[in-house]
Symmetry: C2
Subunit: 148 residues, 2 copies
Amino acid sequence: MTRSDDTDETKRQAERFRRVRDAHQSEVAEDYVEMIADLIAQTGEARVVDLSGRLGVTNATVTNTIQRLQRDGLVVSRPYRSIFLTAKGYDLATAARLRHHIVRDFLCSLGVDRETAESDAEGIEHHVSEATLDAFRQHLDLMRKRRA
Amino acid sequence: MTRSDDTDETKRQAERFRRVRDAHQSEVAEDYVEMIADLIAQTGEARVVDLSGRLGVTNATVTNTIQRLQRDGLVVSRPYRSIFLTAKGYDLATAARLRHHIVRDFLCSLGVDRETAESDAEGIEHHVSEATLDAFRQHLDLMRKRRA
DNA sequence: CTGATTTATTAGCCTCGACTAACAATGTTG
DNA sequence: CAACATTGTTAGTCGAGGCTAATAAATCAG
């Protein structure tokens, strides 16, 4: 046995960290498509300046990121035109929004104030597994029934 | 009014995203110091190979990161020697571990299985505000009393 | 105590996601 | 419709955080 043995727990731990790193990879993509979907729903179109304002980054950063998203088949955009979602992008946006709302509502149901819930949900949503999301949903249902 | 008006909500949203980005900045640091503290507590010392095994990255990556942490005053390490925490690093580790455990235990208390709770907590812990952490604590207390 | 094994470091590379500054296209308005 | 304001893109830079390959140091076994 070498000094640093690879126990099962060590491997599981490594796997957990790998998952967190993977989640980080998709975070930006999810945030963008979710916001693009919301913008289209609310204002009819999504433009670079809208995204940069809401994300708190520069136009240049958004243009850059949009190009990556286009490369990855999530959005379509022609130069100087507004941004559209592909079917794939739309699906991702829908899933992201659903998760986002569940996390936010769940935090609210614990008594966390709205703005904090909104803020924390933004970070948390990308790290919530299906199992945990189910638990959140169940808790929400419980609270709703209790109030009824 | 220009096309893309900066409403209050837009500004708040931008602020939320900024906070998430800030949290990302400290994530790696927190994960490292927490793990270093645990290793020292459990095995007497923290070495590069221990960290790389548990984090699921290469030795080179760990060495690199440790240099950054040293630059930031969180750890002390001499070449080919094991790694120590500064007072600042120790404090950060302690705070991180506390949060980590609350998040994990909270998820468990919702009925999420241990391994999933452990895994999700790893990602979630960095995005939980004090207010939300308090809500988690309260919920945990409630569950404990209910069982008693 | 020397040779083999393990561990750590260095060098060089990559992508992502941020920035600024300069420039190009679009849109608005006098 | 021409000038100006707004928006979008490009080019170039940076740090974080990954990687591999080569090398160096430390440790262990015989």
